[in-house]
Symmetry: C2
């Protein structure tokens, strides 16, 4: 049985993957909201938009023409934050420390259909996206200058997504970003001590308790982690200990696609809107090491709190102190499960 | 002379206070923006609003009546995220780890004038806010259950501020929040090695270089730290090594107020709007130790990037990887200095 104190009193929960804490204030959900409301656009989009630079056959800002692609399409970001030909330098001037960083940034269109999102796609269609992620990860992993590959999606205007055409991004670079570095350290410490995967052991505990599990099939679990920060944050975890997405075979890729379909569809039902989020896959670095301590997973960080228009603001206290949430992971699980 | 590579090529800069990195992509500022625009409300507010629960003489949601205050007014948050009478418990169930957390959350009104913000107040008026911060910090420091006091302000609807009446908050608690913990570790490591303040030594370097300094008076410096994350992030630092705000005398408090006035007024001029931000003071814990390694400072994290309506989104890559910025700290300094 779950400790009911967790539903009644302010507390902090430990994120085993990052080593950081989240402040949980269950009683605070009663607070009335008088602040900013987000704009919602529930208008159905056309399947093709001639002004969209991601639609098949259209011309991008740099003059390149998109092919008439039929499922997935990848190209190098026209305004990449990381470039692979940029100069190498270092600054080590007393307390001013900087290093050049190179990388490759790509855009991946999930479907030629402008009107869709992952939530509207079938597992078989999503599986093609997964295959493409595998292909890109593999290719980038073979590049000696690339040591980490970050696959992510920003969905919805409120998440800074500048084009509603279904797409994600892949930013790859030569060093480990902060969040990955934290998870790398926590996992390596656990693995060298226990010779088992941190996330795998956590998953066994959750599967036994069945208090934060949203969905499972033979190979994947969708759950709200005990330490979730965002109101409806979820995580997809492979049941087997796999360090990265290349370890999935085709049948597993379909089950992973099913898990993505299930959670994104439930999200859309929650507030009756195309549910905004940033999602991302954390997996083993592509530095040539075995990285046995890594257990890959995909997380969804959705900003909405109470309705299609009221989001959780991660501001003052959250920026200067720790992330803070009002509804508990356990109540969020119940709300999402009711929609499956 | 500044390394010009920093203005031309992607790189990461090291935050000496947190031990984390920020990715800087100077060339990316040319990217066109087709995403969400924020709503701006440049309408002048009345000096008194009968529906505002922070205006003097008005009744709050819990039935309490605000006094007819004349400068600053403090009360305990009606929907506090932390409570001082909540139950104490611990969860140590395998990989599920949680701890109860108690604390006191207060709201501080900066002025009875509903139409104002810190940017519209004189240094003498702001000094009264500083005096109140000192008083609250001192009182909470004397409470044995409180080991850290976080003073902050969320300004503007885009920063989750639900009431435009000029006010900030003070959340105090029994343990160190994540961000404070990181800065505590970095500062203690440096101090035990060098017997000098990390931020003090950094400040000397910046004062010599004069490349990121926005303003200074006898006791304070306003600068953009080398590792700033937000496009127009700034920091106010006392020149003398002071661990917390109680070490300021009244004359220094006035100079600190002047620094706040200068930067908030410049912010408002930048995009010709009441500039949104979260600000916060990081200072020594109130755990009864000397904390000689701490050097207090105030930071401003403003979200706007290019105009009153276009903000920087810290989403996908930033959430899963590292924070990323487009314009460099050095170009932001030039833009702000031109407005002084
Ligand atoms: O307490 P307020 O102003 O209602 O709420 C605001 O500040 C808090 C502290 O940063 C945040 O947790 C909330 O998300 C935000 O909306
Ligand atoms: O690359 P996009 O989609 O134009 O931009 C979006 O995602 C990026 C990566 O998370 C962020 O840095 C930008 O702030 C955001 O607007």
């Amino acid at each position: 049985m779950e400790n009911t104190d967790l539903q009644d009193y302010s507390h902090k929960r430990y994120n085993i993957l990052t080593g950081e804490w989240v402040l949980v204030s269950p009683h605070r959900a009663k607070r009335p909201w008088q602040g900013q409301n987000e704009a919602v656009n529930n208008e159905k989009r056309p399947t093709y938009d001639e002004t969209c630079y991601l639609c098949a056959g259209n011309t991008r800002i740099n003059g390149e023409v998109n092919p008439k692609y039929e499922d997935v399409f990848v190209f190098t970001n026209d305004f990449a934050a990381l470039q692979n030909d940029s100069k190498s330098f270092e600054v080590n001037d007393g307390l001013l420390v900087a290093q050049s960083e190179t990388g490759i940034c790509k855009v991946i269109c999930f479907s030629p259909d402008h009107s869709k999102s992952l939530a509207d796609m079938t597992p078989v269609e999503i599986q093609k996206v997964v295959f493409q992620w595998q292909k890109e990860y593999k290719e980038l992993a073979n590049n000696p200058a690339i040591n980490y590959v970050q696959i992510f999606e920003n969905k919805g205007a409120v998440m800074g997504c500048s084009n509603p055409h279904p797409h994600g991004q892949i930013w790859s670079q030569s060093t480990l970003p902060n969040e990955v570095d934290k998870k790398n350290i926590q996992q390596v410490n656990y693995y060298s001590k226990n010779k088992t995967s941190l996330l795998g052991d956590y998953l066994s505990q959750e599967l036994e308790k069945q208090e934060r599990i949203i969905f499972e099939n033979d190979n994947f679990v969708v759950l709200i982690p005990f330490w979730a920060v965002w109101p409806f944050e979820t995580m997809i975890v492979p049941k087997k200990h796999q360090t990265n997405i290349l370890e999935m075979d085709d049948a597993q890729a379909l089950q992973y696609a099913e898990a993505i379909a299930v959670i994104t569809k439930a999200y859309d039902k929650l507030f009756n809107t195309s549910f905004p989020y940033s999602s991302g896959i954390h997996q083993s670095p592509t530095d040539g090491n075995e990285n046995k301590h890594w257990h890959w997973h995909m997380s969804f960080y959705p900003p909405l709190l109470r309705s299609a228009t009221v989001k959780k603001f991660m501001v003052g206290y959250e920026m200067f102190g720790s992330p803070q949430r009002d509804i508990t992971a356990e109540s969020a699980v119940k709300m999402i499960k009711a929609l499956l």
